[in-house]
Symmetry: C2
Subunit: 351 residues, 2 copies
């Protein structure tokens, strides 16, 4: 017998490439914000007393929770925070999906769901999107161990109305429903108010996209007090101090700066609409995105060679091989200038 | 049925209190360093380009691994990094302790081991320390699912010689042995060289104690390349980006600054010896500590009331109720000035 006989073997999630060369690179592959975060963030980093670093951070991250509480009007006891929404979601899988019935999520969605299910030993079943790549809530009827979906969905970018979110939550009081709102600030309406009405709904958000703070790793969840307590118990059984001092303080400042949030998301939405219009003129088909990315493809143009051709030009986008995703590319909405470079290249490439 | 029927219920770890009042407080309860970290850390925070924050951190944390590689002479492929050593240890429990035989650890030790075992569903067995609170390696003979112990042990502070560590590792080639070296820089000798000889040994260290960086949450492990790969696979199935940009850069700088490490640990060791001498003169008994804390008690003086009396004076130490720990207090070695306040109080209290 060897020590290798008793280990957990997994197929890890493969994140979008983080190329180290930054020269002429146009990075449209991991849905980062093209604009810097709140100026308060750099002020806080500059002014952090060096001596404080020797002390553990506040395990409750009260400063961050208080900022979220103030901005979103939710009491602190209904907020959970983590190292990006990936940490929050992984902890939620571990906490809430602990039964024997399968957990349901769309077949085309954030590919980490399947990885977490495998890691935490959660049985799961992928529910196909309809022909228009929409979630059809009637496909989620019947007993299950839980439901998780992004709203808007990724990589489709499609937003589902709250009346449908409520159908999912309301018809499954016997399991936890996770609404992953990583992209909610780009035009959708949050399911947060539904957490007042339903004790089985967890709404997860992140600072990585709309708040331009991917580098700081801050995410959170809103939910019923009891739900948050269970989540905290598991978190405190994993690592008591997940958010470091910089993340707590910078996160709190970024949450409070609503002007930067509105300015940045406003510019991104404008660029998204302009870019999707131009792409449609070129014959590209795409879903209606309420996110900071476009999921687009053109008949007669294979997505994979186009992905590689763009890469050679220093334009990084995301390509997901597979039956329903392999005909398109997921392109992050960057600055107007970056989009112009992309559009120019596509005009030449697609003829 | 309710959603509460299928959740993971756990008894979380309770960390040492992080009081928010900092006035006249003498904080000797979580083994933090009383001196600030490398001055490079504040320089890096001051100079971080705000625009970088919008981009995800390097998921491989290459800058940090390269610094560790340089300082410890270990190739990057044999290094794993995490959000403090708690994150590293939790991931290691999840990865390596996945069999049905019980994992062994001392009965008096870091209390998080038991919490991780429960969280990750790992069967475990506590092996009693001997009468002098030492680990007796002969008690660990026979088949098991893994072994984990701190060296020096906590809260005893006792260091076990490498010849004994080698007995544990060498006699259990069929399971992973984790040597948790959170306190190794205060006088012990690291088991790191043994990772060259044994592929089943994981050596875990942290920046929270000797490098005065508890607030930044950086820990790491050294091990065989294959061991590290399995650990990375699980980490990448949990959260691809665990260390934020500040932690990676500040961590790298703190590792490289060996002068600050030597200066700080040198002062702490000197204060430890002076303080233990003074306590012994007062009639206190204690183990021989090679850490930055003392585990001490005096016959006829109950530890729990003393703990509370110290707390009322604004002196926070750690008390672990229980048969073998409840007669002593664990006192972090602070500055000479802080120790003098403590000693003065004890002279008055203990008569």
């Amino acid at each position: 017998m060897s020590w290798e006989d008793n280990i957990r073997r997994v197929t890890p999630y493969v994140p979008g490439e983080q190329p180290r060369v930054t020269g002429r690179l146009i990075k449209l592959n991991t849905n980062e914000c093209p604009y810097p975060p709140s100026p308060e963030v750099s002020r806080i980093l500059r002014e952090m007393p060096p001596g404080d670093m020797r002390l553990y951070p506040d395990p409750e991250a009260v400063e961050l929770k208080d900022a979220l509480s103030e901005v979103y009007g939710v009491p602190r006891e209904r907020i959970f925070v983590g190292v990006g929404s990936d940490d929050v979601l992984s902890m939620a899988f571990m906490t809430f999906f602990h039964g024997s019935l399968p957990v349901l999520f769309p077949d085309v969605t954030y590919s980490f769901y399947e990885v977490w299910a495998e890691l935490h030993g959660v049985p799961c079943r992928k529910v196909p999107l309809d022909g228009g790549l929409n979630i059809d809530v009637s496909d989620y009827e019947g007993p299950c161990g839980g439901i998780v979906f992004p709203n808007p969905n990724a990589p489709t970018g499609i937003y589902m109305g709250l009346e449908n979110v409520e159908v999912l939550v309301g018809s499954h009081p016997d399991c936890v429903v996770i609404c992953d709102e990583a992209y909610i600030d780009f035009g959708g309406e949050s399911a947060l108010p539904l957490t007042e009405k339903y004790d089985n709904l967890l709404v997860v958000q992140t600072m990585s996209k709309s708040r331009a703070m991917a580098g700081m790793r801050v995410g959170w969840a809103f939910g019923n007090e009891k739900l948050i307590k269970y989540l905290n118990d598991v978190r405190n059984s994993f690592n008591s101090y997940t958010l470091n001092r910089a993340a707590i303080l910078c996160g709190a400042a970024a949450v409070r700066d609503r002007d930067t949030l509105e300015k940045n998301t406003g510019m991104i939405i404008k660029t998204r609409e302009r870019t999707s219009g131009a792409l449609r003129e070129m014959g590209f088909a795409m879903t209606d995105s309420l996110t900071n990315f476009l999921f687009c493809g053109r008949e007669g143009v294979s997505a994979e060679p186009l992905f590689r051709a763009l890469r050679e030009e220093g334009i990084f986008v995301r390509y997901f091989p597979g039956e329903r995703t392999g005909e398109r590319l997921r392109v992050t909405v960057g600055t107007d200038g970056q989009m112009d470079v992309l559009l120019d290249f596509l005009r030449g490439y697609a003829g």
